[in-house]
Structure formats: structure tokens, C-alpha cells
Symmetry: C2
Subunit: 167 residues, 2 copies
């Protein structure tokens, strides 16, 4: 069983070290432990999930430190922060992870990833047009997946109704 994540973790640690040194911040064990926990995960997670799983491993951390460290890791681009519509920040590791966007099922809430190079083109073009130096983006498609598991309510009825009423 290959463990390619270890390489990423290693690179991530070096990046974090360099970042902390550059910013004259301290290399605390908590910061590296949290980084390690994040890079051992493969999915999206929220602050509490991360906090709980560290607690379960008997690691002594506080929520405040988790919040603080996530800010640091987001700032040095080792972690990405998402707002998937809910009022709850979701995170995922971003080093060594192919750039991707998300498609979310409104019914069963599964999150899948996709990658389309045209998004980058749009980003560049829109940035040029509006004189923005775009550094990152968030693209999320919302819909219903076609799995039997999923309730698969008929969506979009409202929009059709609207057109009928407005005309």
C-alpha cells in the first residue's frame, strides 16, 4: 500500500517551517501536529471534526489553537478554506493536491470534485477585463445526483413556474 501522502506531509512541513521563519512566528508542536493531522486526512473537514479527532488521539489542543493554526495554514497556502453554502467553514489540505472545484448534491449533500481547465481561462480573462489580480477562486455546482440512495427530489420546478406566471 503506497503512502504518497507522507511525501506531501514532508514538503508541507518544510513549507510551514520556512513560512514561520520568514514571518518570525514560533515553530510550536501544536502547529505541526495540526498540520500532520490535516495531511493524514483525505476529505473535507470542519474545525470541530479536526478538533475532535485530535482529542480522540489524546492530543492536547484547544479549539482556539485549531482556529489560529488553520488561519496560519490557510495563509501559507497549505490548507484551503471553503464555505459550501452553510455557515460552517470547511477545510482541506491543498499542497500536492490537484487544483479542483466542487459539485454538491442538494439532497444527500455528497461533495464531489472535478477539474476543468477552462475555469482558469475564464479567471484570467475576467481578471484582465476588470483589472483584478485574481489569486484564487471558488466554483461550486449545486444539483441533484442520480443515485438511488438519494431522494432525488425534482428540482427546478419553481423556475419553470416563475416563467409561466411572469409572462
Amino acid at each position: 500500500m503506497p503512502q504518497p501522502n507522507l511525501q506531501n506531509l514532508d514538503a508541507a512541513k518544510r513549507i510551514l517551517t520556512a513560512y514561520l521563519e520568514r514571518k518570525s512566528l514560533r515553530k510550536t508542536p501544536e502547529r505541526f501536529a495540526i498540520l500532520e493531522e490535516i495531511y493524514s486526512r483525505s476529505d473535507h473537514f470542519d474545525v470541530d471534526e479536526l478538533y475532535i479527532s485530535m482529542k480522540n488521539k489524546k492530543y492536547r489542543v484547544s479549539r482556539a489553537t485549531v482556529y489560529n493554526t488553520l488561519d496560519v495554514l490557510v495563509d501559507c497556502d497549505l490548507v484551503t478554506k471553503h464555505q459550501f453554502g452553510k455557515n460552517l467553514a470547511q477545510y482541506e489540505k491543498s499542497y500536492g493536491y490537484k487544483q479542483h472545484d466542487h459539485i454538491i448534491c442538494l439532497d444527500c449533500h455528497q461533495v464531489r470534485e472535478f477539474c476543468d481547465p477552462r475555469v482558469q481561462n475564464i479567471q484570467t480573462m475576467v481578471g484582465d477585463m476588470l483589472q483584478f489580480n485574481v489569486v484564487h477562486h471558488s466554483l461550486i455546482f449545486y444539483g441533484s445526483c442520480q443515485r438511488e440512495k438519494c431522494e432525488n427530489r425534482v428540482q427546478n420546478v419553481n423556475q419553470l413556474e416563475n416563467r409561466a406566471v411572469a409572462e
Copy 2:
């Protein structure tokens, strides 16, 4: 001075009426008052801004009703809900308003709109590929605008550093 919004408000009221009837919900004055307030606005707003501006106009509403009504209006596609990275939902009217996406300055927080038809193509193609029936999307570009007003901090340094360190 033209007032095209009145037409939209009118159509929106008819859509809301039809929606409420179809769902057997009540046509309360609060619901229409909130719709009216929203369609008199041109910008993005959060729940409290909407609540306060109705209070200032001496309209008697509660926050709970504003929250409840926004859910209704989002469900019948008269209003769009956004999560622009912060933990605070932003809304905007959506009927009679051209489909658009957003580009946000990380430094001065200005929000501008743009429209690129290729986004729809990507949406359709990704939906087909992953067997999703995509009903809407959210695309946000984050960057720094080139206005003098704006602090215009140099972004992206971290990513460059990372590459240097990791290699």
C-alpha cells in the same frame, strides 16, 4: 428617470403569489413587504441590513420573519443567497436580473459582477459527466483590484515561496 424595477417588483409579486398558492402558504403582508424592500434595493445585503432598513421605515417586522421569508423567497427563486467567504449570508434579488458571478477584492472587499457564458458550458458538461442535474452554481474570483484607494498588498508571495521551499 426610468424605473424598470417596478416592473420586476410587479412580476416578482405575481410569482410569489402563485408560489404561495401552489404551496398552500399564506399571503401575509410581511412577506410582500419584505419582497418589496428587497426589490427596491440594487445591491447585496445581509439579514440585519434588511431588518434595520425596514425598521428605519417604521415597518414592524421581526428578525425571525425576515429569516423565514428569505427562505421562502430563495426557494421560489426570487432571491439568491450567497456565502462570500465570511460567516454571514448575503442576499440579492434575482428576478429580472441577468445571471452573473462575482469577483471580490480581498483588500477592500468591493464586490463586482461579471458574466461569462462559458461557465454555463462547463456546468452542463460537468453535470453530464458526473451524472448530476445541476440547478445552480456559485463562482467567485478572489483577488486584489488595481484602484489607488485599495491597499493592494502584494498577494501570491506565499505560493511562490512554497514552490521554492518544496523543490
